[in-house]
């Protein structure tokens, strides 16, 4: 059981913690457990989850998670812990309403058919909204620590560059193009060329159906007023992510697929100059070789099954150990903690507390205390 107490304690003193990692590694649960750990050391904390499972909601003791923060009942001695979930569409609507120069402009965008179709699917919008929610929370200043779980983006660059990409899209010549398609081809003054172009574009309009282009133009033109706002927010978010009080945590399991993803995350975060606190390895098997006398008290038939089963887990443990050792050799990121595989995911606040305790140092009173490695 590896653990780096100093690094973990320092992590909980940050202002912003971003959990990244491949899909299905228990990123959301880790983020929630970090939130519990932070609140238990007295930090008022918000945890932003992207796609919370029913169980995690149960574990947090919350009926439902929405964009409105809900307080998790942690009991005496703990600081405030709020949880909220990302809702791409609603965050987008709110953003439009806030940033539009007038409510008429906001209404025009919100009512656009294309906006309604794409606002939750627009390229990178989930990623963008994760960053946007983070910005809101940091800006409000209600919390000492904001922990963000991130969408299972295959590419960390997609996630972190989302604000910038969104701005680029809106600020690009796209708007000009859609308002007057001929403007995209610059540098040609020849009349013949413009005429040819005009014909081609007419054909294109026929091909796509006129209404589509017009509506698209209207949609993008509506956004034009928002570009400056988007740009300054994107800058703010960039700054917040690079600040000294921000840390990235890469969550992984010891499986080849996620180990590989972790290497990529590590490399790309470093390349982007983002501060990495380290790696949390989830669902790690830690079953060392057994003494020959193990299970003597068990009836022989059952003992045989138990031993065969244990042998499988010991093999898995060896594989996990080797994979994590290789990961540490290949990346310069510290292993913050390894968390053992559980019989079932946490279903109560006690379950989350047990994981938090493993992260923050207090020994869990659970009898299935992790054993084995280190």
């Amino acid at each position: 059981m590896a653990r780096d107490p100093a690094a973990l304690a320092a992590l909980l003193q940050q202002r912003l913690v971003v959990c990244v990692g491949a899909g299905g590694v228990g990123k959301t649960t880790s983020a929630a457990a970090l939130g519990v750990a932070a609140a238990l050391v007295g930090r008022s904390t918000a945890v932003v989850t992207v796609d919370p499972s029913r169980r995690l909601k149960d574990a947090l003791g919350l009926e439902d998670l929405s964009t409105t923060p809900r307080t998790v009942a942690l009991g005496n001695g703990a600081a405030r812990l709020d949880a909220l979930a990302l809702d791409t569409k609603r965050t987008f609507d709110r953003l439009i309403t806030r940033m539009a120069p007038s409510s008429a402009v906001a209404q025009r965008i919100l009512a656009n058919r294309l906006y309604q179709e794409v606002s939750s699917e627009l390229g990178g919008s989930t990623e963008y909204m994760a960053m946007e929610t983070l910005h809101e929370l940091l800006h409000e200043g209600r919390y000492e620590l904001v922990i963000v779980d991130t969408p299972p983006s295959a590419d960390v660059r997609d996630l972190l560059s989302a604000p910038l990409r969104m701005t680029e899209l809106l600020a690009s010549q796209a708007i000009d193009f859609l308002k007057a398609p001929a403007s995209i081809i610059t540098g040609s003054e020849s009349r013949l060329m413009r005429m040819t172009l005009g014909t081609v574009l007419k054909a294109l309009e026929r091909w796509t159906g006129l209404t589509l282009l017009r509506e698209l133009a209207d949609f993008v033109a509506g956004f034009e007023h928002l570009v400056d706002g988007f740009r300054s927010r994107a800058r703010d978010i960039e700054q917040a992510l690079h600040a000294a009080d921000a840390s990235f945590v890469i969550v992984t399991t010891a499986e080849p697929r996620t180990i590989e993803a972790t290497r990529t995350f590590d490399r790309e975060l470093r390349a982007g100059g983002f501060p990495i606190a380290g790696i949390i390895a989830n669902r790690v098997y830690e079953f060392p070789p057994l003494a020959a006398t193990a299970g003597r008290q068990v009836p022989p038939r059952l003992r045989e099954k138990l031993l065969a089963n244990y042998a499988d887990f010991a093999a898995l443990s060896a594989r996990d150990r080797a994979a994590l050792a290789a990961l540490q050799r290949d990346t310069s990121s510290a292993l913050l903690a390894t968390l053992p595989a559980l019989e079932e995911p946490p279903t109560s606040i006690a379950g989350l507390r047990a994981i938090a305790a493993q992260l923050a140092g207090a020994e869990p009173e659970s009898r299935s205390r992790p054993r084995g490695a280190q």
């Binding site: 294309l114 690009s172 193009f177 159906g209 509506e215 697929r257 499988d312 887990f313 079932e344």
Partner: protein, 352 residues
């Protein structure tokens, strides 16, 4: 699987409609075209893997492994198969011992080809064909704007990708064979797969007529055709993966796309009987030790798997197909072959 059948109970009446008056509304014409296309295709034997199969599910459920297993199995049975990588993460290529699949179909083994979908290049070449004039397309692509717009515009890339996929299963003139008997598309995660399968309808609603609209219609018809297109939903015994499968199922049902029997991958084999489980629990209450903790992990994982199998069974109204967790044996060629054999049962096939 056969809900489609009931709609086809009166083929003669529907066929009679073909000779109807010309001035029917566009919607009626569309509906009739679709129906006619379906009637021309014989309803497949239940066990047949549809010519165009999308393998989809949450990230990390084993879509690539399943794709490779099924592709190899079908090729071994004499079918000409194309395995398509959409995720772009090289996971399918890796299973065939390659760094990356090429963007034009290339042989992986006997009767099995592989190809990678490079969305951006596809979109470019689509518009290049459309614009015909090379200098125009060069300017258009160089601007950067073009890619920003097509990437963000709803359904454009999806439409181009679908159009590209359809070429491999399309039958030629005079019944000429399609390029492949089976095209198996690996790896659009559920959300993306939905967008892909929804694109012709979504764009079709925005584009009422013109050549684009008719391409849209052709694609929509292809996706609706249960004899041609199917979706294999894959989950693993985890809450979110199964929830995603259930949500995708609901959405695909609305679209009318054919779903095969769902797969629950990575199910731990049952090792302990009910009596064993009770004994382990009693022993643990007295004195816990690693030997028993390992058993508890196994029992817990199996219990989780049963719970998720139950969820899927209730939602689909038929039992899902469990596939074993392979990690303990490692994913080797034999394991993949075994998986391919088991997978046939997802199509009600020979292996059952």
């Amino acid at each position: 699987m056969n809900d489609r059948g009931s709609r086809l109970q009166t083929p003669n009446a529907e066929r009679a409609g073909e000779a109807g008056p010309r001035d029917v509304s566009a919607a009626e014409a569309n509906a009739r075209r679709r129906l006619n296309a379906r009637l021309r295709q014989p309803y497949p034997a239940a066990m047949a893997v549809p010519p165009l199969l999308f393998v989809t599910g949450k990230g990390g459920v084993g879509k690539s492994t399943l794709t490779a297993a099924l592709a190899q199995r079908l090729a071994r049975q004499g079918r000409r198969v194309l395995a398509v990588e959409m995720a772009g993460d090289g996971s399918l290529a890796a299973l065939f011992g390659q760094g990356a699949l090429p963007t034009e179909p290339a042989s992986l083994s006997t009767r099995l080809d592989g190809v990678r979908i490079e969305t951006r290049a596809l979109v470019e070449s689509y518009f290049r064909r459309l614009l015909r004039l090379p200098f125009l397309s060069r300017r258009l692509f160089a601007s950067g704007t073009f890619h920003a717009v097509t990437a963000a515009a709803p359904g454009v890339t999806e439409f181009v990708v679908l159009d590209h996929l359809a070429q491999w299963t399309a039958t030629g003139w005079l019944g000429r064979r399609a390029a492949y008997d089976n095209v198996i598309v690996d790896g659009p995660a559920s959300g993306h797969a939905l967008r892909l399968l929804r694109a012709p309808r979504q764009l079709g609603a925005l584009v009422p007529r013109g050549p684009l609209a008719s391409t849209m219609n052709r694609l929509a018809t292809l996706l609706d055709n249960h004899a041609h297109t199917g979706v294999l939903l894959v989950a693993i015994p985890e809450d979110l993966a199964v929830s995603e499968t259930l949500e995708t199922r609901a959405a695909l049902d609305q679209l009318g796309v054919r779903l095969t029997r769902p797969v629950l991958n990575r199910v731990w084999p049952r090792r302990f009987s009910v009596a064993d489980i009770e004994a382990v629990s009693a022993l643990r209450a007295r004195r816990d030790e690693p030997l028993l903790a390992a058993a508890a992990l196994e029992i817990g994982a199996r219990r989780e798997a049963e719970r998720h199998l139950g969820r899927l069974r209730r939602a689909f109204g038929s039992p899902p197909l469990p596939l074993p967790e392979l990690c303990r044996g490692g994913v080797d060629a034999a394991a993949v072959a075994a998986m391919g054999r088991s997978l046939e049962r997802a199509f009600g096939g020979h292996g059952a």
